[in-house]
Symmetry: C2
């Protein structure tokens, strides 16, 4: 059986916590990580506050195989992610010569000033390696098991496309969803018994509420078809048994 590969995510930005911007990156990472066989185990949405970023990154990088961050790597005063990551790793945050040269050439070619603000985007923790940014050039970076990416969704997604193929991935979690017209109150007991009888699955029960009535989406997850199928069959039989005729 393949190794279990896990991940944590830190979403960085006051604008998410004020409600002004609705985060899309966590859901996007959740989808792609799951598809790649990486279990996303925890997401923290934190403000532009160095101490809280450092705490979140250090907690998650100790606990999970990989950590992904989004946000705070642009050229303005509220972009403090590079400094915070350097602090988390106890290394200096300094101008990366390769990133500097890359940006310098880019702006020079376009006859755009390589301003002090733009130079901030060449700063990285010492020892970081680039994550290419095919959208707007300024790179993200990886240090240790932490992958630092942009907050703008189109750039986050493009960077993630570059990162995912470089990671080890685990046995994919396969899942099957079973539509259950009955509410959780009816199936809760027998579903718990099915979970106990199928310890190599994780059975989730998601109540849905529409037009004044509850129904349930039941999702059975496992790392092999052999584990999945009998549990799904048991769920389906249980629904039939509990449906009034």
């Amino acid at each position: 059986m393949s190794e279990i590969v896990t991940a944590g995510m830190v979403v960085i930005g006051d604008e998410i916590l004020s409600g002004r911007t609705k985060d899309l990156n966590a859901g996007y990472l959740a989808d792609l990580a799951t598809a790649a066989g990486i279990d996303l185990k925890e997401v923290r949405i934190v403000p532009d506050d160095e101490d809280i970023i450092v705490e979140a990154v250090n907690a998650l990088r100790a606990r999970y195989t990989y950590v992904f961050t989004s946000g705070g790597i642009g050229p303005t005063h509220d972009d403090i992610t590079a400094d915070a990551i350097a602090k988390a790793f106890g290394v200096p945050c300094e101008v990366d010569q390769k990133a500097y040269a890359l940006l310098d050439a880019h702006y020079r070619k376009r006859n755009i000033e390589f301003s002090d603000a733009r130079k901030r985007m060449a700063r990285m923790p010492r020892g970081a390696v680039h994550i290419d940014n095919p959208v707007s050039l300024a790179p993200g970076f990886a240090i240790g098991n932490v992958h630092v990416m942009a907050g703008v969704p189109s750039i986050f997604q493009a960077m993630l496309d570059n990162v995912l193929p470089t990671l080890k991935t685990g046995a994919k979690l396969i899942s099957q969803s079973v539509h259950c017209p009955l509410p959780e109150g009816v199936i809760g007991g027998p579903l718990g018994e099915i979970q106990k009888a199928h310890p190599h699955t994780v059975i989730g029960s998601y109540p849905k509420f529409r037009d004044g009535r509850f129904w349930t989406e039941i999702v059975v997850r496992a790392r092999s078809q052999e584990a999945l199928d009998p549990a799904v069959a048991a769920v389906q039989a249980m629904i039939v048994e509990n449906t009034p005729r």
Copy 2:
């Protein structure tokens, strides 16, 4: 000046982390808390894992005025929030007689079985008080500064409507958004100077990328109009100064 009132949130559920369900509750809380003068400072999305829930709740309740949770209070085996909150507070999780009587009467009237699964929804940490659920009856609860609510968005929202008027709120953060056609690389330096010159504001800079070009949304936040207005004026003047004529 009013007290600063802060909040943390714990979103509970494997289905969010697998990408199957996209969380809506954090963004909803962010909007309503901000409008009420409560600063949402941190959100953690955690799996159906007792230890991680306990850690998150204990970390956030020590740090912020209020904590809100969503998810995991239904009748099935994966609904472990009540137990986890009890453990976080070091109190027993037990059947709440008032909740039991409420649910018993509800199901009796409708001639529906009050199943063992449904009885799970009457369990709460000892000392918790109810949060009414006008949608589907089964109450949430509050203990200490922690408010435990459902994950189904319509129910979460209805519960939050019941909770918010009972909380103390702070001076509302007022904000003004300034559209800036220039990219962050141009305005980053002068915007940082404006932030320094207006310490009673928090100026956020949010890069937007469309059709191959960057523009910037600049948001100035403050707790008084007197602090806000001069900073906004400075930002507007800075944009004019830096726009090529």
